[in-house]
């Protein structure tokens, strides 16, 4: 059972949230917290692990910046060994990534409390730093729009690409123990929904679901779905054939940032970082002989096509890949567009719940009946 409580916000919602997190540590709801924390230069916020409530002073819940998908941090903190009870403050896309990682056996939730946030959107790390250095308070700006969830970025700036097309801005699922909500609430209010046990310890009183919340959230989701579908359509138009495909990755420099920062790409040894692609010198000359020209170093298109085939069914659309691409390739749009179709084959929504099985980890004897049969190339066996 969940308790929906409304807390009065005195100074600011982030401050109220911080006090609540402090109470969680002090009252033993959790032994440690993974929480966004302002770095000393004050122009960025990164997740930190805290044991001591006194160090929560620099915690900054709802700062619109995401330098890493914190699901990776939760994976590091829960994958092995004995762990104390961890409270992880996460955005919805980080929660979705964590759900996939749990199913991929790279993280564990048995001693973890997920504290989800209504997500107002985020700027790139560079944009956030610039705004802060210019003396702007990006958090306060966005939170002031939370009542009707209109979510417009600062004049002259855009949200991250992943955020612009994100249609799941609120935490979902039974695995989310606590939600800190802002959408649809009146000025001076913050919502906390928590499971019974936690609510009791924190002395939260049932106040019912805030009246304006559902409408506000739906309005935001509708706007985002429109943006998402427009992005998908634009991609399909642009990459409809081989020329389009090659052009899309023409500026890729093989830094592998997208793969390294993707929360779902968990392989400790990606094939593209192994000796498989360390060819002997004479091999390149032979290829050049046969093909006329060989890009040095080769296999750029192969890298992206392979990464798609390996992980697109679990892509939760956080968009960190686009953030970190030095060539501004819209990797998030590519993966989400291809993801829409491939996930639909199995009726799978990544990150939604722990019960749905990873498409590549299971199979059914009775499915995809047309594939492999005589003459199957003559029909569109896959939508």
């Amino acid at each position: 059972m969940t308790v929906n409580a409304i807390l009065a916000v005195e100074e600011s919602a982030p401050e109220t949230a911080r006090a609540l997190l402090g109470a969680m540590l002090e009252k033993g709801v959790v032994d440690a917290l993974l929480v966004p924390w302002q770095l000393p230069a004050e122009d960025s916020v990164a997740p930190v692990l805290i044991h001591d409530p006194a160090r929560l002073a620099e915690a900054r819940v709802w700062s619109p910046v995401m330098p890493i998908n914190a699901a990776r941090a939760v994976s590091n903190l829960t994958a092995t060994g004995n762990k104390p009870r961890l409270g992880a403050v996460l955005r919805p896309c980080e929660i979705r990534a964590l759900v996939e990682l749990v199913k991929l056996e790279q993280a564990a939730l048995d001693n973890t409390l997920i504290i989800g946030l209504d997500c107002p959107g985020a700027y790139t790390v560079a944009d956030y730093a610039e705004l802060k250095r210019d003396g702007i308070d990006p958090t306060a700006e966005l939170l002031s729009q939370a009542a009707d969830a209109s979510m417009t970025p600062h004049q002259g700036y855009q949200f991250r690409q992943g955020c612009r097309i994100c249609e799941r801005p609120v935490p979902e699922g039974a695995h989310v123990a606590v939600t800190l909500g802002l959408f649809g609430l009146e000025e001076g209010q913050m919502m906390v929904s928590a499971s019974d046990g936690v609510a009791q310890t924190l002395e939260l009183e049932e106040a019912g679901e805030p009246a304006g919340r559902r409408a506000a959230v739906n309005r935001l989701i509708t706007a985002r779905i429109q943006a998402r579908d427009a992005a998908f359509a634009e991609f399909r138009e642009r990459v409809g054939d081989v020329e389009g495909l090659l052009a899309e990755f023409s500026t890729c420099i093989r830094c592998h940032n997208c793969m390294i920062n993707c929360p779902i790409c968990y392989c400790k040894e990606c094939i593209f970082r192994t000796a498989t692609f360390d060819h002997a010198s004479d091999v390149y000359y032979r290829w050049a002989d046969r093909k006329g020209v060989v890009r040095m170093l080769p296999d750029t298109t192969l890298f992206h096509l392979t990464r798609l085939n390996h992980m697109v069914t679990s892509c939760i659309g956080c968009g960190v890949c686009t953030d970190v691409c030095p060539s501004d390739i819209p990797v998030a749009t590519i993966f989400r567009t291809v993801g829409e179709k491939t996930q639909a084959i199995f009726d799978y929504t990544p990150g939604l719940n722990l019960e749905d099985e990873i498409p590549l980890a299971v199979f059914r004897e009775d499915e995809l009946g047309g594939l492999g049969e005589r003459d199957s190339h003559q029909f569109q066996v896959v939508p």
């Binding site: 399909r236 990459v239 409809g240 054939d241 081989v242 020329e243 389009g244 495909l245 090659l246 094939i271 290829w287 093909k291 006329g292 020209v293 060989v294 890009r295 080769p298 296999d299 750029t300 298109t301 192969l302 096509l305 392979t306 798609l308 085939n309 390996h310 697109v312 069914t313 567009t337 291809v338 179709k341 491939t342 084959i345 199995f346 498409p359 590549l360 199979f363 059914r364 004897e365 499915e367 995809l368 594939l371 492999g372 049969e373 005589r374 199957s376 190339h377 003559q378 066996v381 896959v382």
Partner: protein
């Protein structure tokens, strides 16, 4: 002008399909020589990267063959191959490459004739379709 000869890379599973291809050979069944066979222990052991490498290198067609569903030597390898193939088809389609150049077929050890017919069918199909759009582009 010389007729275009398609180049097909075929991934055959050891137990059913490769044996079926052997049967075609020992039975002296004629089929076009355009296919380059790569033997795996199981179709379930085929990582999409190998199919994609063939595609990117300009193979006109790729043939993935395994045991019939229910007959996999390792119980479930072909079921996994089937799922991976579905995703592969979808990604190839979305990324501008014609998905009907990559075929999945179930061919058993006793189906030597069917193997020969499949290769013949694919060569004819590809001759009509023309060379891979990635030909000449190289692995860039």
């Amino acid at each position: 002008m010389a007729q275009f000869e398609p180049r097909i890379i075929a991934f055959l599973c050891n137990w059913c399909t490769y044996t079926g291809a052997d049967l075609a050979g020992t039975s002296r069944l004629q089929y076009p020589p355009n296919v380059r066979i790569i033997r795996l222990m199981c179709s379930g052991g085929l990582d999409p990267v190998y199919v994609l490498k063939s595609v990117v290198e300009g193979a006109d067609g790729v043939l993935i063959v395994g045991c019939h569903p229910g007959d996999c030597h390792y119980q479930s390898g072909n079921y996994k191959a089937r799922r991976r193939f579905a995703i592969l088809q979808s990604t190839l389609d979305m990324m501008g490459f014609e998905p009907d150049r990559v075929w999945l077929r179930w061919i058993s050890a006793s189906e030597g004739r069917y193997f020969a017919d499949t290769v013949t069918q694919m060569v004819e199909f590809l001759k009509e379709k023309g060379p891979s759009p990635l030909k000449g582009v190289g692995a860039i």
